[in-house]
Amino acid sequence: MIKIENLTKKYGNLTAVDNLSLQIEEGEVFGLLGPNGAGKTTTIRVLCCLISKTSGNAMLNNLSIDDKKNRIEIRKIIGLLPENVGLYESLSAYKNLDFYAKLYQCTESQRKERIEYYLKMFDLWDKKYVATGTFSKGMKQKLALARVLVHDPKILFLDEPTANLDPEATKMVRDYILELKKEKRTIFLNTHMLDEAERICDRVGILKTQLLDIGSPEELRESLLGKKSVVEVDAITDNILKSIKSLGFEQISIDNNKMTINVNDPRKDNPSIIQAIQDAGGLVQSISELLPSLEDIYLKKVRRNE
Protein backbone atom coordinates (compact mmCIF):
# COMPACT_ATOMS: atom_id res chain seq x y z
CA MET A 1 0.00 0.00 0.00
CA ILE A 2 2.88 2.37 0.85
CA LYS A 3 6.34 1.83 -0.59
CA ILE A 4 9.06 4.30 0.26
CA GLU A 5 12.39 4.06 -1.54
CA ASN A 6 15.46 6.05 -0.50
CA LEU A 7 13.36 9.05 0.38
CA THR A 8 15.35 12.14 1.32
CA LYS A 9 14.12 15.58 2.24
CA LYS A 10 16.46 18.48 2.79
CA TYR A 11 15.67 22.04 3.86
CA GLY A 12 18.68 23.90 2.53
CA ASN A 13 21.65 22.31 4.26
CA LEU A 14 19.52 20.59 6.87
CA THR A 15 18.60 16.98 6.17
CA ALA A 16 15.21 16.24 7.73
CA VAL A 17 14.79 12.72 6.34
CA ASP A 18 17.72 10.74 5.04
CA ASN A 19 17.41 7.82 2.65
CA LEU A 20 14.25 6.35 4.16
CA SER A 21 13.07 3.05 2.72
CA LEU A 22 10.21 0.97 4.01
CA GLN A 23 7.09 -0.80 2.88
CA ILE A 24 3.70 -0.90 4.56
CA GLU A 25 1.13 -3.49 3.60
CA GLU A 26 -2.59 -2.95 3.16
CA GLY A 27 -4.40 -3.07 6.50
CA GLU A 28 -1.20 -2.70 8.48
CA VAL A 29 -0.81 -0.24 11.33
CA PHE A 30 2.69 1.16 11.12
CA GLY A 31 4.16 3.39 13.79
CA LEU A 32 7.00 5.79 13.15
CA LEU A 33 8.78 6.46 16.41
CA GLY A 34 11.26 9.20 16.95
CA PRO A 35 12.18 12.17 19.08
CA ASN A 36 11.11 15.70 18.17
CA GLY A 37 12.85 16.82 15.00
CA ALA A 38 13.47 13.26 13.85
CA GLY A 39 11.70 13.86 10.54
CA LYS A 40 8.40 12.12 11.31
CA THR A 41 6.13 15.02 10.33
CA THR A 42 8.26 15.78 7.28
CA THR A 43 7.88 12.14 6.18
CA ILE A 44 4.10 12.35 6.47
CA ARG A 45 3.99 15.67 4.65
CA VAL A 46 6.04 14.30 1.78
CA LEU A 47 3.85 11.19 1.56
CA CYS A 48 0.70 13.34 1.59
CA CYS A 49 2.17 15.40 -1.29
CA LEU A 50 2.14 18.55 0.82
CA ILE A 51 5.83 19.17 0.37
CA SER A 52 8.24 17.92 -2.26
CA LYS A 53 10.95 15.35 -1.70
CA THR A 54 14.59 16.07 -2.43
CA SER A 55 15.32 12.60 -3.81
CA GLY A 56 14.01 9.05 -3.75
CA ASN A 57 10.40 8.12 -4.29
CA ALA A 58 7.28 6.82 -2.62
CA MET A 59 4.28 4.98 -3.98
CA LEU A 60 0.88 5.08 -2.33
CA ASN A 61 -1.60 2.56 -3.69
CA ASN A 62 0.70 2.29 -6.73
CA LEU A 63 0.63 6.05 -7.33
CA SER A 64 4.04 7.68 -7.36
CA ILE A 65 4.41 10.97 -5.49
CA ASP A 66 6.99 11.85 -8.14
CA ASP A 67 4.33 12.40 -10.76
CA LYS A 68 2.60 15.76 -10.27
CA LYS A 69 -0.54 14.40 -11.90
CA ASN A 70 -0.90 11.85 -9.10
CA ARG A 71 -0.89 14.33 -6.27
CA ILE A 72 -4.61 15.07 -6.30
CA GLU A 73 -5.35 11.34 -6.73
CA ILE A 74 -3.13 10.51 -3.76
CA ARG A 75 -4.84 13.12 -1.60
CA LYS A 76 -8.19 11.57 -2.50
CA ILE A 77 -7.24 8.22 -0.99
CA ILE A 78 -5.57 9.49 2.15
CA GLY A 79 -6.77 11.11 5.33
CA LEU A 80 -4.38 13.27 7.33
CA LEU A 81 -4.75 14.08 10.99
CA PRO A 82 -2.05 16.67 11.65
CA GLU A 83 -0.59 17.30 15.08
CA ASN A 84 -2.80 20.37 15.45
CA VAL A 85 -6.32 19.21 14.76
CA GLY A 86 -7.17 22.44 12.90
CA LEU A 87 -10.95 22.57 13.24
CA TYR A 88 -12.96 25.64 12.31
CA GLU A 89 -13.91 26.56 15.84
CA SER A 90 -16.75 28.90 15.02
CA LEU A 91 -18.40 26.30 12.80
CA SER A 92 -20.43 23.39 14.15
CA ALA A 93 -19.18 19.82 14.18
CA TYR A 94 -21.54 19.00 11.32
CA LYS A 95 -20.42 21.93 9.18
CA ASN A 96 -16.76 21.09 9.73
CA LEU A 97 -17.30 17.57 8.42
CA ASP A 98 -19.62 18.69 5.63
CA PHE A 99 -17.03 21.16 4.35
CA TYR A 100 -14.34 18.50 4.07
CA ALA A 101 -16.71 15.90 2.63
CA LYS A 102 -17.62 18.38 -0.11
CA LEU A 103 -13.96 18.94 -0.96
CA TYR A 104 -13.63 15.16 -1.37
CA GLN A 105 -16.56 15.30 -3.82
CA CYS A 106 -18.83 13.16 -1.65
CA THR A 107 -22.44 13.27 -2.84
CA GLU A 108 -25.08 14.82 -0.62
CA SER A 109 -26.43 11.42 0.44
CA GLN A 110 -22.89 10.14 1.16
CA ARG A 111 -22.20 13.23 3.23
CA LYS A 112 -25.36 12.87 5.29
CA GLU A 113 -24.86 9.16 5.83
CA ARG A 114 -21.16 9.32 6.72
CA ILE A 115 -21.36 12.40 8.89
CA GLU A 116 -24.14 10.81 10.91
CA TYR A 117 -22.24 7.52 11.09
CA TYR A 118 -18.98 9.02 12.35
CA LEU A 119 -20.55 11.57 14.67
CA LYS A 120 -22.49 8.71 16.26
CA MET A 121 -19.40 6.48 16.32
CA PHE A 122 -17.46 9.18 18.16
CA ASP A 123 -20.37 10.07 20.48
CA LEU A 124 -20.68 13.55 19.03
CA TRP A 125 -24.08 13.28 17.35
CA ASP A 126 -25.80 15.18 20.16
CA LYS A 127 -23.33 18.02 19.66
CA LYS A 128 -23.59 18.15 15.88
CA TYR A 129 -24.82 21.75 15.75
CA VAL A 130 -22.53 23.01 18.50
CA ALA A 131 -19.55 25.24 17.58
CA THR A 132 -16.40 23.16 17.97
CA GLY A 133 -14.69 25.96 19.86
CA THR A 134 -16.67 24.85 22.91
CA PHE A 135 -15.46 21.24 22.65
CA SER A 136 -12.94 19.64 25.03
CA LYS A 137 -9.56 18.57 23.60
CA GLY A 138 -10.69 14.95 23.49
CA MET A 139 -13.88 15.85 21.64
CA LYS A 140 -11.92 17.94 19.16
CA GLN A 141 -9.54 15.06 18.54
CA LYS A 142 -12.46 12.70 17.95
CA LEU A 143 -14.05 15.16 15.54
CA ALA A 144 -10.73 15.53 13.74
CA LEU A 145 -10.60 11.74 13.42
CA ALA A 146 -14.14 11.82 12.00
CA ARG A 147 -12.98 14.48 9.54
CA VAL A 148 -10.13 12.23 8.43
CA LEU A 149 -12.55 9.36 7.84
CA VAL A 150 -15.49 11.13 6.27
CA HIS A 151 -14.37 10.47 2.69
CA ASP A 152 -13.59 6.82 3.45
CA PRO A 153 -9.81 6.97 2.78
CA LYS A 154 -7.69 3.88 2.18
CA ILE A 155 -4.71 5.23 4.07
CA LEU A 156 -4.72 7.22 7.29
CA PHE A 157 -1.82 9.39 8.40
CA LEU A 158 -2.07 10.22 12.07
CA ASP A 159 0.56 12.64 13.32
CA GLU A 160 0.87 12.43 17.11
CA PRO A 161 -2.85 11.76 17.55
CA THR A 162 -2.73 11.70 21.34
CA ALA A 163 -0.23 14.49 21.94
CA ASN A 164 -1.41 17.03 24.53
CA LEU A 165 -4.39 14.92 25.56
CA ASP A 166 -5.16 13.96 29.13
CA PRO A 167 -4.92 10.23 29.99
CA GLU A 168 -8.65 9.65 29.64
CA ALA A 169 -8.84 11.31 26.22
CA THR A 170 -5.65 9.51 25.18
CA LYS A 171 -7.18 6.15 25.99
CA MET A 172 -10.37 7.07 24.17
CA VAL A 173 -8.50 8.10 21.01
CA ARG A 174 -6.33 4.95 21.13
CA ASP A 175 -9.41 2.79 21.47
CA TYR A 176 -10.88 4.43 18.38
CA ILE A 177 -7.67 3.85 16.44
CA LEU A 178 -7.88 0.18 17.44
CA GLU A 179 -11.44 0.19 16.08
CA LEU A 180 -10.11 1.56 12.80
CA LYS A 181 -7.52 -1.20 12.77
CA LYS A 182 -10.37 -3.70 12.82
CA GLU A 183 -11.75 -2.01 9.67
CA LYS A 184 -8.49 -3.07 7.95
CA ARG A 185 -7.45 0.45 7.04
CA THR A 186 -3.78 1.12 6.44
CA ILE A 187 -2.63 3.41 9.21
CA PHE A 188 0.63 5.35 9.35
CA LEU A 189 1.04 6.61 12.89
CA ASN A 190 3.64 9.12 14.01
CA THR A 191 4.25 9.06 17.70
CA HIS A 192 6.87 9.47 20.36
CA MET A 193 4.66 7.62 22.85
CA LEU A 194 6.11 4.17 22.98
CA ASP A 195 3.32 2.45 24.84
CA GLU A 196 0.97 3.77 22.18
CA ALA A 197 3.06 2.25 19.40
CA GLU A 198 3.37 -1.00 21.29
CA ARG A 199 -0.35 -1.26 21.87
CA ILE A 200 -1.56 -0.20 18.45
CA CYS A 201 1.07 -0.95 15.82
CA ASP A 202 1.78 -4.14 13.91
CA ARG A 203 5.24 -2.82 13.10
CA VAL A 204 7.26 0.15 14.19
CA GLY A 205 10.14 2.02 12.68
CA ILE A 206 12.56 4.07 14.72
CA LEU A 207 13.47 7.24 12.91
CA LYS A 208 16.08 9.79 13.70
CA THR A 209 16.54 11.42 10.33
CA GLN A 210 17.55 7.92 9.21
CA LEU A 211 15.56 4.79 9.84
CA LEU A 212 17.41 3.12 12.71
CA ASP A 213 15.37 -0.05 12.91
CA ILE A 214 12.11 -1.54 11.79
CA GLY A 215 10.02 -4.53 12.78
CA SER A 216 7.27 -5.68 15.08
CA PRO A 217 7.80 -4.68 18.72
CA GLU A 218 8.71 -8.34 19.42
CA GLU A 219 11.23 -8.47 16.58
CA LEU A 220 12.86 -5.28 17.76
CA ARG A 221 13.18 -6.66 21.27
CA GLU A 222 14.83 -9.81 19.98
CA SER A 223 17.11 -8.04 17.55
CA LEU A 224 18.39 -5.73 20.22
CA LEU A 225 18.41 -7.72 23.42
CA GLY A 226 17.87 -11.38 22.48
CA LYS A 227 15.68 -13.57 24.69
CA LYS A 228 16.32 -13.72 28.37
CA SER A 229 14.95 -15.51 31.39
CA VAL A 230 15.17 -14.12 34.90
CA VAL A 231 15.43 -16.74 37.65
CA GLU A 232 15.22 -15.92 41.31
CA VAL A 233 16.68 -18.57 43.65
CA ASP A 234 17.16 -18.80 47.41
CA ALA A 235 20.95 -18.54 46.98
CA ILE A 236 23.25 -18.61 43.98
CA THR A 237 26.03 -21.18 44.30
CA ASP A 238 28.86 -22.32 42.02
CA ASN A 239 27.08 -25.64 41.63
CA ILE A 240 23.97 -23.93 40.33
CA LEU A 241 26.00 -21.85 37.83
CA LYS A 242 27.92 -24.95 36.64
CA SER A 243 24.69 -26.86 36.27
CA ILE A 244 23.10 -24.14 34.14
CA LYS A 245 26.22 -23.67 32.00
CA SER A 246 26.30 -27.40 31.36
CA LEU A 247 23.01 -26.91 29.46
CA GLY A 248 24.83 -24.58 27.08
CA PHE A 249 23.67 -21.26 28.57
CA GLU A 250 26.98 -19.48 28.94
CA GLN A 251 25.82 -15.87 29.32
CA ILE A 252 24.56 -15.39 32.84
CA SER A 253 24.47 -12.11 34.73
CA ILE A 254 23.91 -12.04 38.48
CA ASP A 255 22.19 -9.46 40.63
CA ASN A 256 21.85 -10.56 44.29
CA ASN A 257 19.87 -13.79 44.09
CA LYS A 258 18.60 -13.13 40.57
CA MET A 259 20.19 -14.58 37.44
CA THR A 260 19.51 -13.23 33.95
CA ILE A 261 20.21 -15.98 31.44
CA ASN A 262 20.41 -15.60 27.67
CA VAL A 263 18.20 -18.32 26.18
CA ASN A 264 16.95 -19.35 22.78
CA ASP A 265 13.32 -19.87 23.66
CA PRO A 266 12.18 -19.21 27.25
CA ARG A 267 9.19 -21.57 27.00
CA LYS A 268 11.36 -24.51 25.98
CA ASP A 269 14.45 -23.66 28.01
CA ASN A 270 12.94 -22.61 31.35
CA PRO A 271 11.89 -26.13 32.49
CA SER A 272 15.43 -27.50 31.96
CA ILE A 273 16.91 -24.51 33.81
CA ILE A 274 14.57 -25.15 36.76
CA GLN A 275 15.55 -28.80 36.73
CA ALA A 276 19.28 -27.95 36.62
CA ILE A 277 18.93 -25.60 39.60
CA GLN A 278 17.02 -28.17 41.60
CA ASP A 279 19.60 -30.85 40.71
CA ALA A 280 22.32 -28.52 42.04
CA GLY A 281 20.47 -28.15 45.35
CA GLY A 282 18.91 -24.76 44.68
CA LEU A 283 15.34 -23.63 45.26
CA VAL A 284 13.67 -21.69 42.43
CA GLN A 285 11.54 -18.89 43.83
CA SER A 286 10.41 -17.42 40.52
CA ILE A 287 11.20 -17.56 36.81
CA SER A 288 10.02 -15.23 34.07
CA GLU A 289 10.83 -14.04 30.59
CA LEU A 290 12.58 -10.67 30.51
CA LEU A 291 10.50 -8.40 28.31
CA PRO A 292 12.29 -5.14 27.62
CA SER A 293 9.87 -2.36 26.84
CA LEU A 294 9.80 -0.64 23.51
CA GLU A 295 11.09 2.34 25.45
CA ASP A 296 14.30 0.43 26.26
CA ILE A 297 14.76 -0.46 22.62
CA TYR A 298 13.97 3.03 21.44
CA LEU A 299 16.34 4.68 23.89
CA LYS A 300 19.14 2.27 23.04
CA LYS A 301 18.70 2.80 19.33
CA VAL A 302 18.41 6.57 19.52
CA ARG A 303 21.28 6.99 21.96
CA ARG A 304 23.48 4.66 19.97
CA ASN A 305 22.90 6.94 17.01
CA GLU A 306 23.78 10.14 18.86
Binding site: Y11, R45, C48, L50, I51, S52, I72, E73, R75, K76, I78, G79, L80, L81, P82, N84, V85, G86, L87, Y88, E89, S90, L91, K95, F99, Y100, K102, L103, Y104, Q105, A131, A144, R147
Partner: protein
Amino acid sequence: MSKVNRKNVWTITAKDFGLFRKKKAILYTAFILPLILSIGLPTILWYVINYTGAPAQRMFALFDAFSFFFVILAAIIPTFIGSYSFVGEKTEKTLEPLLATPTTDDEILLGKSLAAFLPVIIMIFISAVIFMVLMDIFTTAQVGYPYFPNWFFATMILLDSPLVCIMSIELSVIISSRVNDVRSAQQLAVLVIIPFFALYLLTEISVITLDTNTLLIIAGILAIVDIGLFFASRATFQREEILTKWK
Protein backbone atom coordinates in the same frame (compact mmCIF):
# COMPACT_ATOMS: atom_id res chain seq x y z
CA MET B 1 -2.67 27.68 -14.23
CA SER B 2 -3.88 24.24 -13.19
CA LYS B 3 -7.45 23.23 -13.97
CA VAL B 4 -9.77 24.82 -11.47
CA ASN B 5 -12.69 22.87 -10.03
CA ARG B 6 -15.36 25.56 -9.56
CA LYS B 7 -17.22 23.40 -7.05
CA ASN B 8 -14.16 23.31 -4.79
CA VAL B 9 -13.68 27.05 -5.18
CA TRP B 10 -17.27 27.74 -4.18
CA THR B 11 -17.11 25.27 -1.26
CA ILE B 12 -14.13 27.20 0.15
CA THR B 13 -15.81 30.55 -0.49
CA ALA B 14 -19.04 29.39 1.18
CA LYS B 15 -17.10 28.07 4.18
CA ASP B 16 -15.36 31.43 4.57
CA PHE B 17 -18.71 33.22 4.38
CA GLY B 18 -19.85 30.97 7.22
CA LEU B 19 -16.82 31.96 9.27
CA PHE B 20 -17.22 35.68 8.52
CA ARG B 21 -20.84 35.55 9.71
CA LYS B 22 -19.57 34.64 13.16
CA LYS B 23 -17.05 37.49 13.28
CA LYS B 24 -18.75 40.70 14.32
CA ALA B 25 -15.72 42.85 13.50
CA ILE B 26 -15.83 41.66 9.92
CA LEU B 27 -19.58 42.15 9.65
CA TYR B 28 -19.34 45.70 11.00
CA THR B 29 -16.46 46.59 8.69
CA ALA B 30 -17.90 45.02 5.57
CA PHE B 31 -21.53 46.03 5.97
CA ILE B 32 -21.87 48.94 8.36
CA LEU B 33 -19.02 51.13 7.10
CA PRO B 34 -20.27 51.35 3.48
CA LEU B 35 -23.81 51.99 4.69
CA ILE B 36 -22.67 54.76 7.02
CA LEU B 37 -20.81 56.44 4.16
CA SER B 38 -23.63 56.00 1.68
CA ILE B 39 -26.11 57.64 4.05
CA GLY B 40 -23.71 59.94 5.93
CA LEU B 41 -22.11 61.71 2.96
CA PRO B 42 -25.39 62.76 1.28
CA THR B 43 -26.71 63.83 4.67
CA ILE B 44 -23.68 66.08 5.17
CA LEU B 45 -24.25 67.56 1.73
CA TRP B 46 -27.94 68.08 2.46
CA TYR B 47 -26.96 69.95 5.63
CA VAL B 48 -24.42 72.09 3.75
CA ILE B 49 -26.94 73.04 1.07
CA ASN B 50 -29.80 73.73 3.44
CA TYR B 51 -28.02 75.37 6.33
CA THR B 52 -24.97 77.11 4.83
CA GLY B 53 -26.67 78.41 1.72
CA ALA B 54 -23.96 77.12 -0.58
CA PRO B 55 -25.36 76.68 -4.08
CA ALA B 56 -25.41 73.10 -5.20
CA GLN B 57 -24.00 73.96 -8.63
CA ARG B 58 -20.72 74.97 -7.01
CA MET B 59 -20.51 71.72 -5.19
CA PHE B 60 -19.90 69.34 -8.07
CA ALA B 61 -16.30 68.97 -6.98
CA LEU B 62 -17.50 67.91 -3.58
CA PHE B 63 -19.89 65.39 -5.15
CA ASP B 64 -16.98 63.78 -6.97
CA ALA B 65 -14.73 63.93 -3.93
CA PHE B 66 -17.38 62.16 -1.87
CA SER B 67 -17.72 59.56 -4.60
CA PHE B 68 -14.00 58.82 -4.32
CA PHE B 69 -14.56 57.52 -0.80
CA PHE B 70 -15.97 54.38 -2.38
CA VAL B 71 -12.58 53.65 -3.92
CA ILE B 72 -11.00 54.10 -0.51
CA LEU B 73 -13.60 51.72 0.92
CA ALA B 74 -12.76 49.22 -1.79
CA ALA B 75 -9.14 49.43 -0.68
CA ILE B 76 -9.68 49.25 3.06
CA ILE B 77 -12.44 46.67 3.65
CA PRO B 78 -10.80 43.72 1.84
CA THR B 79 -7.71 44.17 4.01
CA PHE B 80 -9.80 43.27 7.06
CA ILE B 81 -11.58 40.35 5.44
CA GLY B 82 -8.59 39.10 3.43
CA SER B 83 -6.24 39.22 6.40
CA TYR B 84 -8.69 37.25 8.52
CA SER B 85 -9.29 34.79 5.71
CA PHE B 86 -5.62 33.94 5.23
CA VAL B 87 -3.91 34.65 8.57
CA GLY B 88 -6.97 33.35 10.43
CA GLU B 89 -6.50 29.92 8.84
CA LYS B 90 -2.84 30.07 9.75
CA THR B 91 -3.29 31.06 13.38
CA GLU B 92 -6.12 28.58 13.93
CA LYS B 93 -3.94 25.84 12.35
CA THR B 94 -6.65 24.94 9.86
CA LEU B 95 -4.46 25.30 6.79
CA GLU B 96 -2.71 21.91 6.93
CA PRO B 97 -5.89 19.80 6.91
CA LEU B 98 -7.22 22.01 4.12
CA LEU B 99 -4.02 21.60 2.13
CA ALA B 100 -4.26 17.81 2.54
CA THR B 101 -7.56 17.74 0.62
CA PRO B 102 -7.66 17.04 -3.12
CA THR B 103 -7.80 20.71 -4.00
CA THR B 104 -5.22 22.70 -5.93
CA ASP B 105 -3.41 25.74 -4.55
CA ASP B 106 -5.22 27.87 -7.12
CA GLU B 107 -8.62 26.62 -6.00
CA ILE B 108 -7.90 27.49 -2.38
CA LEU B 109 -6.45 30.88 -3.30
CA LEU B 110 -9.34 31.67 -5.61
CA GLY B 111 -11.96 30.45 -3.15
CA LYS B 112 -10.57 32.54 -0.33
CA SER B 113 -10.04 35.59 -2.55
CA LEU B 114 -13.64 35.40 -3.76
CA ALA B 115 -14.81 35.18 -0.16
CA ALA B 116 -13.06 38.48 0.50
CA PHE B 117 -14.04 40.07 -2.83
CA LEU B 118 -17.74 39.28 -3.18
CA PRO B 119 -19.14 40.74 0.07
CA VAL B 120 -17.05 43.89 -0.37
CA ILE B 121 -17.99 44.54 -3.96
CA ILE B 122 -21.66 43.71 -3.37
CA MET B 123 -21.77 46.10 -0.41
CA ILE B 124 -20.02 48.79 -2.43
CA PHE B 125 -22.55 48.41 -5.24
CA ILE B 126 -25.49 48.52 -2.81
CA SER B 127 -24.01 51.50 -0.97
CA ALA B 128 -23.32 53.27 -4.26
CA VAL B 129 -26.95 52.90 -5.27
CA ILE B 130 -28.12 54.24 -1.89
CA PHE B 131 -25.60 57.09 -2.19
CA MET B 132 -26.77 58.01 -5.70
CA VAL B 133 -30.43 57.93 -4.77
CA LEU B 134 -29.95 60.06 -1.65
CA MET B 135 -27.65 62.50 -3.43
CA ASP B 136 -30.20 62.97 -6.20
CA ILE B 137 -33.04 63.39 -3.70
CA PHE B 138 -31.10 66.02 -1.77
CA THR B 139 -29.60 67.94 -4.71
CA THR B 140 -31.81 67.64 -7.80
CA ALA B 141 -33.93 70.64 -6.83
CA GLN B 142 -30.85 72.86 -6.53
CA VAL B 143 -28.84 71.42 -9.44
CA GLY B 144 -31.84 71.21 -11.73
CA TYR B 145 -31.21 67.64 -12.83
CA PRO B 146 -30.17 64.35 -11.16
CA TYR B 147 -26.37 64.48 -10.93
CA PHE B 148 -26.11 60.70 -10.51
CA PRO B 149 -25.58 58.34 -12.22
CA ASN B 150 -22.84 59.69 -14.44
CA TRP B 151 -19.84 58.26 -16.29
CA PHE B 152 -17.41 59.44 -13.65
CA PHE B 153 -19.22 57.61 -10.86
CA ALA B 154 -19.86 54.55 -13.03
CA THR B 155 -16.15 54.31 -13.89
CA MET B 156 -15.25 54.64 -10.25
CA ILE B 157 -17.71 52.04 -8.99
CA LEU B 158 -17.69 49.52 -11.83
CA LEU B 159 -14.05 49.70 -12.86
CA ASP B 160 -11.73 51.29 -10.30
CA SER B 161 -13.36 49.90 -7.14
CA PRO B 162 -13.23 46.21 -8.21
CA LEU B 163 -9.61 46.64 -9.34
CA VAL B 164 -8.66 48.30 -6.05
CA CYS B 165 -10.49 45.55 -4.17
CA ILE B 166 -8.53 42.84 -6.04
CA MET B 167 -5.26 44.65 -5.35
CA SER B 168 -6.08 44.85 -1.67
CA ILE B 169 -6.86 41.12 -1.46
CA GLU B 170 -3.70 40.15 -3.31
CA LEU B 171 -1.64 42.28 -0.96
CA SER B 172 -3.38 40.63 1.99
CA VAL B 173 -2.25 37.22 0.71
CA ILE B 174 1.35 38.36 0.42
CA ILE B 175 1.32 40.06 3.81
CA SER B 176 -0.35 37.02 5.40
CA SER B 177 2.68 34.92 4.57
CA ARG B 178 4.91 37.25 6.58
CA VAL B 179 2.96 37.85 9.78
CA ASN B 180 1.55 35.69 12.53
CA ASP B 181 -1.58 37.46 13.63
CA VAL B 182 -4.62 38.95 12.00
CA ARG B 183 -4.18 42.39 13.53
CA SER B 184 -0.62 42.81 12.23
CA ALA B 185 -1.77 41.70 8.80
CA GLN B 186 -4.61 44.21 8.87
CA GLN B 187 -2.32 47.01 10.05
CA LEU B 188 0.12 46.33 7.24
CA ALA B 189 -2.49 45.75 4.59
CA VAL B 190 -4.32 48.95 5.43
CA LEU B 191 -1.28 50.85 4.12
CA VAL B 192 -2.72 50.09 0.69
CA ILE B 193 -5.03 53.10 1.12
CA ILE B 194 -2.12 55.58 1.30
CA PRO B 195 -1.84 56.14 -2.48
CA PHE B 196 -5.59 56.64 -2.73
CA PHE B 197 -5.64 59.11 0.12
CA ALA B 198 -2.75 60.90 -1.54
CA LEU B 199 -4.73 61.00 -4.76
CA TYR B 200 -7.72 62.38 -2.88
CA LEU B 201 -5.62 65.11 -1.27
CA LEU B 202 -3.95 66.04 -4.55
CA THR B 203 -7.41 66.45 -6.02
CA GLU B 204 -8.56 68.57 -3.11
CA ILE B 205 -5.61 70.94 -3.47
CA SER B 206 -6.17 70.99 -7.25
CA VAL B 207 -2.82 69.46 -8.17
CA ILE B 208 -4.63 66.94 -10.34
CA THR B 209 -8.13 66.88 -11.72
CA LEU B 210 -10.07 63.77 -11.01
CA ASP B 211 -12.25 63.20 -14.04
CA THR B 212 -13.39 60.16 -15.99
CA ASN B 213 -10.20 60.14 -18.08
CA THR B 214 -8.02 60.19 -14.98
CA LEU B 215 -10.07 57.35 -13.54
CA LEU B 216 -9.55 55.33 -16.71
CA ILE B 217 -5.79 55.90 -16.49
CA ILE B 218 -5.86 54.86 -12.82
CA ALA B 219 -7.83 51.75 -13.81
CA GLY B 220 -5.18 50.88 -16.40
CA ILE B 221 -2.40 51.24 -13.82
CA LEU B 222 -4.39 49.20 -11.30
CA ALA B 223 -4.97 46.44 -13.83
CA ILE B 224 -1.20 46.17 -14.42
CA VAL B 225 -0.49 46.21 -10.67
CA ASP B 226 -3.20 43.57 -10.12
CA ILE B 227 -1.65 41.28 -12.71
CA GLY B 228 1.77 41.65 -11.09
CA LEU B 229 0.36 41.06 -7.62
CA PHE B 230 -1.64 38.07 -8.88
CA PHE B 231 1.56 36.29 -9.86
CA ALA B 232 3.26 37.34 -6.63
CA SER B 233 0.37 36.14 -4.45
CA ARG B 234 0.14 32.89 -6.42
CA ALA B 235 3.85 32.29 -5.92
CA THR B 236 3.36 32.93 -2.19
CA PHE B 237 0.34 30.65 -1.89
CA GLN B 238 2.01 27.31 -2.63
CA ARG B 239 1.59 24.33 -0.32
CA GLU B 240 5.29 23.92 0.31
CA GLU B 241 5.77 27.66 0.86
CA ILE B 242 2.88 27.76 3.31
CA LEU B 243 4.03 24.77 5.35
CA THR B 244 7.73 25.49 5.40
CA LYS B 245 8.28 29.21 4.88
CA TRP B 246 5.18 31.06 6.09
CA LYS B 247 5.87 32.51 9.51
